[in-house]
């Protein structure tokens, strides 16, 4: 593809373009959340949108997470297509009642009468020295809940394309945006648009080990794969993209080729999405494995402020390399 077909864009701008496109495509779509309007978004995602669409559709809210997430659910049931922005995943705990007891539950509890076509966006993840009340990765928690879908766009293409697909979904979808990705810049096809949210993607093909990951950890896995390649170890890196429902087929069939699996997950290890994936590997392709499944997760501590401690708490390319080398040497 020549350069005329692509545009230089950041993850933040890709998200903004996705919101803008959705607002133009469907008059039922509106954005609501803390500081989305006059401030331009806590992470500047919605900068300029208030001027373009006005305060009815770019709606600043008070600091009432439970209230405005619940209002988003009500508005969705009332025929709108709200995008509710919650500043960070830690703040979303204030709205957990509405997310779990209402958004995820109403369709089933009402015997199919009332669906909730709501999209919730929130920032997640460590790496910006925001400490223990702004930087956790609770995507796996949310993936525990039947009734919602959990998306973790890591790439520019997904930042640009997942939102519209989520808005077309009849049920609640939560989009987790890792805050270390907002400044990531790259080339995106000028005609980029909606993407599917059902399939994991093999980001880097390889034959020796399958690395299963999502969100910002994807890039650590890719870095690790480059390092390993110098030693002749070819890692296949899979970006899960969607944590609920999980696309089991993609990683399971990869493991039948590589016979080794490592899961890289910024969530805490205990009861994590990595634990779930590991269990599914045992249940489905146990006899394909040449080595035990390995997991690289965050340390089981609240995320600390100091940079060296914060970085020590979350998965890193070095630990991925080390783990894979050990697996390959023992069971090669």
């Amino acid at each position: 593809m020549n350069s005329g077909d692509t545009v230089k864009i950041t993850y933040r701008e890709a998200m903004r373009e996705a919101i803008r496109e959705a607002m133009h495509r469907d008059s039922r779509v509106f954005l609501m959340g803390e500081d989305v309007g006059h401030y331009g978004g806590c992470f500047a995602v919605s900068k300029g949108l208030l001027e373009e669409f006005g305060p009815e559709r770019i709606r600043d809210t008070p600091l009432s997470e439970n209230g405005f997430v619940g209002a988003g659910i009500g508005a969705a049931m009332g025929g709108m297509r709200p995008i509710v922005e919650v500043m960070t995943v830690n703040f979303s705990l204030l709205a957990l009642d509405q997310i779990l007891n209402n958004a995820a539950t109403l369709l089933h509890m009402s015997g199919g009468l009332f669906n909730v076509p709501l999209v919730i966006r929130m920032a997640t993840g460590a790496g910006k020295q925001l400490a223990a009340q702004h930087a956790h990765s609770l995507e796996g928690w949310y993936a525990h809940i039947p009734g919602i879908k959990v998306l973790t766009p890591a790439t520019l293409e997904d930042a640009r394309g997942m939102l519209w697909t989520a808005l077309e979904d009849p049920d609640p979808v939560i989009i987790f945006e890792n805050n270390t990705l907002y400044n990531m810049e790259g080339e995106l096809p000028a005609a980029a648009g909606p993407v599917d949210i059902e399939h994991a993607r093999i980001t880097r093909p390889g034959s020796d080990v399958t690395v299963i990951t999502y969100s910002a950890s994807l890039f650590k896995a890719l870095n690790a794969a480059e390092t390993l390649a110098k030693d002749g170890i070819e890692a296949e890196v899979i970006d899960l993209r969607t944590l609920r429902p999980l696309d089991d087929g993609t990683y399971l069939s990869s493991i039948t080729k590589t016979h080794r699996a490592v899961i890289v997950d910024e969530g805490w290890r205990t009861g994590s999405i990595s634990a779930e994936i590991s269990a599914r590997i045992m249940e489905n392709v146990f006899y394909e494995l040449d080595a035990p499944v390995e997991r690289i997760c965050s340390a089981e501590v609240p995320i600390p402020y100091a940079k060296h401690m914060e970085q020590a708490a979350i998965p890193q390319a070095e630990s991925i390399v080390k783990t894979i080398k050990r697996m390959v040497s023992v069971n090669g």
């Binding site: 039922r28 008070p62 619940g70 009500g74 009332g78 009642d97 209402n102 009402s110 015997g111």
Partner: protein
């Protein structure tokens, strides 16, 4: 306990009979539900509305078919008064698939599409943000609907109450907040739970128009509700109506009522809303023994038919267990 004078305004016979019949229907329906609970036909939590009938019946007089209703877990009365079919409610409590929610919700979670009845919400205060959102959707789509939201004195202590009142006032939304103050949050008397027990005063902090009304007097409730709904419908913003009422029966079927005296209950029963209306109609020569007999006969028929419908109902096939976790249809 204050015993306000019942108003002596002229009652229209037809209207009076209608209100009386609906209140009697709710009373007999609830008594039958208690009986069926003892017979183990109904299980789970069962919260009965005896004593509070005037609130639901009076308030529904102010609503139009296109309006939305959001209620609590003590909502059989609201559902019946709103016009949800008694048979589908009873079948729901039996857990049968002919129930209004296919037996997925039970007593605490009645939903109905045609009457725009949005639950049946058993997280205290959890319905208020939904009401705000429904009203927001109406406003953004240019519909002149009222969203009527019931909750209790217990709900008025929740954060969701304050967040919702603030949002509704801030955005001047058409929400008709109906607080059913029956003096007890389960078994905790209002003075043990609220620093300000005059609940209508809470509306002042949000500059929401408010009133308190004798919730044992259906005509007073009807009149106050019509004024409130008219205000909301005219686009004047939300309205808060506190209905001072009392539940005659226990909180649920697991309640030894250790927190109140029999004398207190008996005193309130002397202000029975059904008796209160009947006495006034008799005094004006609008109601005779034959009318009461006819009401009781017609009500007994509705209740009997609801039980027969529930008895004849069928169990949803277990194969459908996971249906409605997500919508059957792909996109909206």
């Amino acid at each position: 306990m204050p015993e306000p004078e019942m108003a002596v305004e002229k009652i229209e016979r037809e209207q009076g009979i209608r209100l009386l019949k609906m209140m009697v229907l709710i009373r007999r329906f609830e008594d039958k539900s208690a009986e069926l609970y003892s017979a183990t036909k109904i299980r789970g939590f069962l919260h009965l509305y005896n004593g509070e009938e005037a609130v639901a019946v009076g308030v529904m007089e102010s609503l139009r078919p296109e309006d939305n209703v959001v209620a609590t877990y003590r909502e059989h009365g609201q559902a019946l008064a709103r016009g949800v079919d008694a048979g589908s409610i009873m079948a729901e409590m039996y857990g049968k698939q002919e129930g209004c929610c296919r037996g997925r919700g039970g007593s605490m979670h009645l939903f109905d599409y045609d009457t725009r009845f949005y639950g049946g919400n058993a997280i205290v205060g959890g319905g208020l943000p939904l009401a705000v959102g429904l009203a927001l959707a109406d406003r953004m789509q240019g519909r002149q609907r009222v969203t009527c939201c019931f909750f209790g004195d217990g709900g008025a202590a929740e954060g969701a109450f304050h967040e919702s009142m603030n949002l509704a006032a801030l955005w001047k939304l058409p929400v008709f907040f109906v607080c059913e103050n029956n003096l007890y949050a389960m078994g905790t008397r209002i003075n043990f739970a609220h620093a300000v027990t005059d609940l209508a005063r809470k509306a002042c902090s949000y500059d929401i128009a408010s009133a308190s009304v004798d919730g044992m007097d259906v005509l007073a409730v009807e009149s106050a509700a019509k004024e409130a709904a008219g205000f909301v419908r005219a686009g004047e913003g939300p309205y808060f109506l506190e209905c001072r009422t009392y539940r005659f029966r226990a909180h649920s079927m697991f309640d030894a009522e250790l927190y109140r005296t029999k004398e207190e209950v008996e005193q309130w029963k002397r202000r029975d809303p059904i008796e209160g209306l009947a006495v006034r109609m008799r005094a004006q020569g609008l109601l005779g023994d034959s009318d009461i007999e006819q009401i009781e006969r017609e009500v007994a028929d509705i209740v009997d038919r609801s039980v027969a419908f529930a008895e004849a109902g069928t169990w949803e096939p277990v194969e459908e267990l996971t249906r409605f976790v997500y919508s059957d249809r792909k996109s909206v």
